[in-house]
Symmetry: C2
Subunit: 336 residues, 2 copies
């Protein structure tokens, strides 16, 4: 049986849910707990990847390079990874993160724009990093189109292409078909991964389907902490995979459950949930990290967040267009 | 295409999550919102069904018959149902609920004990009620065994047998196989229903699979309010079913989303979630309404709730054995 790797992205995707306010001590606690639990890879960066600490995406409380250093210092076995979006994170950022001890990277692009990742993969290979590629908002392409984009990443040096359901939009078969198509295109040459969100309640179910359709890397976060309705909770993934007899290495299920409850939960004041805003994101396919931006705009401009998100969906905005949220709020305000 | 009926059980299964403290005004608000949204059936009773307001199950704040009356008074189109567990609710309770205006009932037994429901179905038909049958903890039987129990209910006069995943234990295919087997046994004579919980994150996914395997009644609750990790959220079910082109009558998806956010959420201080206790329930198959009982015993006896629940799972207790939770806590306390 193929071995599956459970990746934890509490300290990257989860960063959205805490508005990028992680402290070094929090990062150390999470790494210690999951390293002890046998989790083999953990991603640490600003929620929007290296260089994300900006006015547009929201400023980090702590320099992400210091968080990476802390994570590397704390990790005994787990590999520390970072996320990088071309146009946000630079080659210099990648060098610095590698200098701090990161050993894997994930290069993320909108699902139709894999070609902008080519130089970053070259850089990553030059730095000796394990490479992953994120095809974000992957519901925007049909399975065949997504497979073509995956091919571009693999040809550039990507070792695992992730079908990333950034809006929690995919429902069961819609996720399975995409994973299968990507697997058929790149399987044998590179791995396939899946990164699920909970907006329509399919984070865990889609992850299981992904494994059944060829994925060998699955992302999760403690308590599902993450953008929008949150990610597939890693403690639930571990519990489900164990029941289904899936080999996911030496991860201790109970230790992961305990890490969620005893380590992560006490540090977070607001856990993500399937609330109206995030359900609408899943319904119309809006990038999950827009949720808190839309809520802030809602407070400021007196327009319901779910209406802002629905309009953002109609306009088809993608990651990087956070600044347009305010424009949408203003336009809706004008209509009311 | 077959029409699916979405049933709401916020005011019955959801009652567990508020420790049976619903007021008449709260019931009216929820019924008004979901009646306006086009939901065709709503269940109103103590969480453990008629007569559940006891020391063993927890006392209701308001007499459930008065809650049923209020719901009936408020409902313009939606049919008000009640739950009844043989041995807890009596024939007299059923008569009284019918007198108050309830027009449907659901008779619930442990999955292996459908035969104890026979007299209750006879009574229900005599009272002119629509009938549903709940096979609780349905993971405890294989599909073929469950189908045999469903047959007993149908022969007694049950019009819809529900595969009830009372522990949120079932994972995808495990739910689909049970619905399919029940459908093959009773389809054409009676309907099949599915009642999902979220413990392992499969409440919505299993409900969709249930529809794809013959179920025509699906239970949900606003915001997933319910025992354990909560139920499949009805606003998410509606959103997902709409995308999949499923006919679920004239239910207005946006109105259900709004009811969850604007009506239900403000009245609840603690929403159910996939926390450690409820994940363990799904992992080992413990009746969901045991969660708050175990948490109370945990506080009183100083034993972790998840350990109590795991031991309850090992001992195989079923609904009605709430009093044994304290015994388990005492036994674990003795070991520490």
């Amino acid at each position: 049986m193929t071995k599956i790797r459970l990746n934890d992205t509490t300290l990257r995707d989860g960063s959205h849910a805490v508005r990028h306010q992680y402290t070094e001590e929090q990062v150390r606690k999470v790494v210690r707990a999951l390293d002890d639990a046998g989790v083999e890879m953990m991603e640490v960066s600003h929620g929007d990847g290296l260089g994300g600490s900006t006015f547009n995406y929201g400023f980090s409380k702590t320099n992400e390079m210091d968080l990476i250093s802390a994570a590397v210092d704390e990790a005994k076995n787990t590999k520390i990874a970072f996320l990088c979006l071309p146009g946000v994170g630079s080659a210099e950022d990648m060098e610095e993160a590698t200098k701090r001890g990161a050993r894997a990277c994930r290069i993320a692009t909108h699902s139709t724009e894999a070609d902008v990742s080519i130089q970053h993969f070259e850089k990553a290979r030059e730095l000796g990093l394990e490479t992953g590629g994120f095809l974000m908002l992957s519901h925007r392409l049909d399975p065949a189109g997504l497979a073509k984009q995956a091919r571009i990443m693999v040809d550039a040096g990507c070792q695992c292409v992730f079908v990333v359901d950034s809006a929690g939009y995919l429902i069961g078969q819609e996720a399975a078909d995409r994973v299968k198509a990507v697997y058929e295109e790149i399987g044998g040459e590179a791995q396939v991964g899946f990164h699920g969100h909970q907006n329509l309640g399919f984070g865990v179910a889609n992850s299981l389907l992904a494994v059944q359709n060829g994925a060998t890397q699955i992302d999760g976060t403690l308590y599902g902490l993450g953008a929008g309705a949150g990610n597939a909770p890693i403690e639930v993934l571990a519990t489900v995979f164990e029941r289904r007899g899936i080999d996911f290495g030496d991860v201790n299920v109970k230790a992961v459950q305990d890490a969620a409850e005893d380590v992560l939960k006490p540090m977070v004041s607001r856990l993500p949930m399937m609330d109206r805003g995030s359900i609408v994101q899943g319904q119309v396919g809006v990038y999950n990290s827009f949720l808190l931006h839309a809520e802030r705009a809602s407070e400021r401009y007196g327009v319901p967040a779910q209406e802002i998100l629905a309009e953002v969906g109609r306009r088809g905005y993608v990651g990087g267009q956070e600044d347009m949220i305010i424009e949408v709020a203003l336009a809706l305000q004008g209509q009311n």
